[in-house]
């Protein structure tokens, strides 16, 4: 214990000399700066450099997103502008097969051409096609009927026509393919 006290007194005396203690503090400070400052600076600088890349990516992505928003704004204006035309497009190319709509169309077109619709049968062969077999009769205009069917709002393709001329009325069997666009 006595030796310890002697040692501590020695240090106190040693440090009481200001010129020596200043030198020690400066060296100590420099060592601290070297160990904690420089050695710590390396990993911190690495993180900082990698973050610059990340920052740049984020910035570029945000610019792209802003551009996308501008495009969406323009698209929204255009969609609002053609909003009513979507319904017209639906009439030309229905989303689903509704037999009653086809029945009405066929009946109207037959009537306009001087015939009367006797029967219609449907078969939904593929997702995009409806096959109609229609039988009509009367004394009408065959060419007009065919034109009207092909010019109608719905996309019709006449596949076959069987036409028989009768003394009182003619009979007509037709197979028609109509295109639809079913939502999958």
């Amino acid at each position: 214990m006595k030796k310890v006290n002697e040692f501590l007194n020695l240090i106190r005396r040693f440090l009481s000399n200001e010129s020596i203690s200043i030198k020690i503090y400066i060296v100590w400070g420099l060592i601290t700066l070297l160990v904690f400052g420089f050695m710590g600076f390396l990993p911190v600088s690495k993180i900082f450099i990698s973050n610059i890349g990340l920052l740049e990516d984020l910035y570029q992505n945000n610019l792209k997103l802003e551009k996308k928003i501008d495009e969406l704004k323009i698209a929204k204006e255009k969609v609002e502008l053609v909003g009513d035309d979507i319904n017209v497009l639906d009439k030309f190319l229905p989303d689903e097969f509704l037999a009653q709509n086809y029945l009405v169309d066929m009946s109207v077109i037959s009537g306009q051409s001087g015939y009367s619709l006797d029967s219609v049968s449907f078969s939904n062969e593929t997702a995009n096609e409806v096959i109609m077999s229609i039988r009509i009769s009367g004394k009408g205009d065959l060419k007009g009927l065919v034109s009207k069917l092909e010019e109608s709002k719905k996309l019709n393709e006449i596949q076959s026509i069987k036409y028989n001329v009768g003394s009182r009325e003619d009979s007509l069997d037709m197979t028609i393919k109509s295109f639809i666009m079913e939502n999958k």
Partner: protein, 124 residues
């Protein structure tokens, strides 16, 4: 700085989400327009062929029946003079729609003095 960019991105993503219905609607219109154009270009029309066959019949020939499709036609017709059938065949072949005409049968009804002919034709 990074936090600021992330917050900015969050705000932009939120804004984009408000346009989700626009994107869906635009896609629907686009898909439908593309499909319509595709169906329209793939569709086979028959009206020109029907017009051609009917218009060339002439007043001398009487039509009894006709079957017509995209590939060709077959018909049953009657007429008073044999030359009318020859003229009909010539008229059909002179145009640019029919490639060949085949006479399937021909008969003379002496009681009415009319010829009954069945013929078929192929479209080009």
């Amino acid at each position: 700085m990074i936090q600021y960019q992330k917050e900015w991105q969050g705000r932009l993503v939120e804004e984009i989400e408000t346009y989700s219905d626009v994107e869906e609607k635009a896609k629907r219109i686009s898909d439908k327009t593309v499909a319509y154009k595709k169906f329209l270009s793939n569709r086979l029309l028959i009206s020109d062929k029907v017009d051609y066959v009917m218009d060339n019949l002439g007043s001398e020939i009487e039509l009894n029946s006709i079957d017509i499709n995209q590939q060709g036609f077959s018909m049953s017709i009657t007429g008073k003079d044999a030359i009318d059938f020859t003229n009909l065949i010539v008229r059909y072949l002179e145009g640019d729609l029919v490639s060949e005409i085949i006479i399937n049968s021909a008969s003379l009804d002496k009681s009415e003095d009319t010829y009954k002919v069945t013929l078929s034709g192929n479209f080009k």
